[in-house]
Subunit: 219 residues, 2 copies
């Protein structure tokens, strides 16, 4: 065993950790049970005690990413104003993608292992989407006849956020020669335009984020 590795975690946890390292170092396509075993200096058969296959191990890692992502979205501070809370969810989404690019790519940029075999993965992924859907349903007052509207809005919001999260990491970005100040202002501008696209009031794109004056209590 590698002496620098914490000896406490179970073999199952050690396999998950080693697999994450393989993914980070070589990409998810190269992940194999053999690599995991080699990294842990254990027999090739040992990881199979906890994971039926490489896909089961990958599904476990993806499930955990979705759970972590949902928790990140869910634990942001709330104001009780559905519109402000939706905007803060958008910022939380972009922050997650920026700070955890590996996890983000695993969730949304990697072909899933056969979903029928991995119900926990599906469940965690759908739960993350439902945080967004439920926020929108709350804005519409939870009327079932508004569910299609909430779903269309959710798909619009998710598309826009996912697109921004992906594009700003794409190599082409640095060559576009965007006008001064545009790149810095992108998240705030995007949130304002999402508000407009939803048909929400008071969503005016701002030229650049400026220090906000403290909000006065509404009179």
């Amino acid at each position: 065993m590698n002496p620098n590795r914490d000896p406490a975690p179970s073999l199952k946890e050690a396999c998950v950790q080693a697999a994450r390292e393989v993914i980070a170092e070589q990409g998810v396509e190269r992940l194999s049970m053999r690599d995991v075993a080699r990294k842990l200096d254990i027999s090739h058969q040992a990881p199979y005690r906890h994971f039926e296959s490489r896909d089961h191990l990958l599904a476990e890692i993806m499930s955990r990413c979705f759970a972590d992502f949902a928790q990140h979205l869910d634990e942001r501070p709330r104001t009780g104003d559905p519109q402000a809370d939706l905007e803060s969810m958008g910022h939380a989404y972009l922050n997650y993608a920026r700070h955890k690019p590996l996890e983000y790519r695993l969730m949304f940029g990697t072909p899933w292992p056969e979903p029928a075999q991995h119900p926990a993965l599906v469940q965690h992924a759908v739960h993350a989407f439902n945080l967004l859907r439920d926020s929108l349903r709350a804005m519409h007052g939870h009327h079932p006849q508004q569910h299609a509207q909430a779903d269309r809005q959710a798909m619009f919001i998710w598309s826009t956020l996912h697109g921004m999260a992906s594009i700003t990491q794409a190599d082409v970005m640095q060559h576009l020669n965007l006008a001064a100040g545009v790149e810095r202002a992108l998240p705030a501008d995007l949130m304002a335009r999402i508000g407009l696209g939803l048909g929400l009031p008071e969503s005016v794109p701002r030229a650049a984020p400026t220090p906000k004056p403290k909000r006065k209590p509404r009179t």
Copy 2:
């Protein structure tokens, strides 16, 4: 040589074609000069006559994808109405992503080979973005002081389209249990919301695409 392969194209073209096949079959991560040579049944050194390295070959393929993509966007029918032409560009974008997922992923989902080494790749990619940017500048009347506004709008549009193109191919989609009719209506709904997000007039999200009556000439 594989007898089924067209013997006419030059070795350079044959390498490009073989590399595309390797990418389609095994993913871009597995692309190697050795694989290309093996596929063409030529010596390992032969591809190097035309491409300095695997990255040069990949950059050539990516450049061609961007050129093809830009041509697809550019040759759509135009009406002369900037707003309608912007919407048709959006549909052309989504169509390309749907019908050429491999090319789409190569352009926007694959780390680029070191751009400084591949100026043609950068040039073709920026050209594709400029089609969008120029359409927006045309709407603003080409005033330089409006360039930042056009760039913010371009990034919003691109984010939304790229997000939709990526999400609708993601495995999670089929598990979201969207309300009836929502998925089919997504492209039209998205275009309408993009219009709203740009602050354009007459952009009202439609519940579902309905057959349009023939447009009357304006009086």
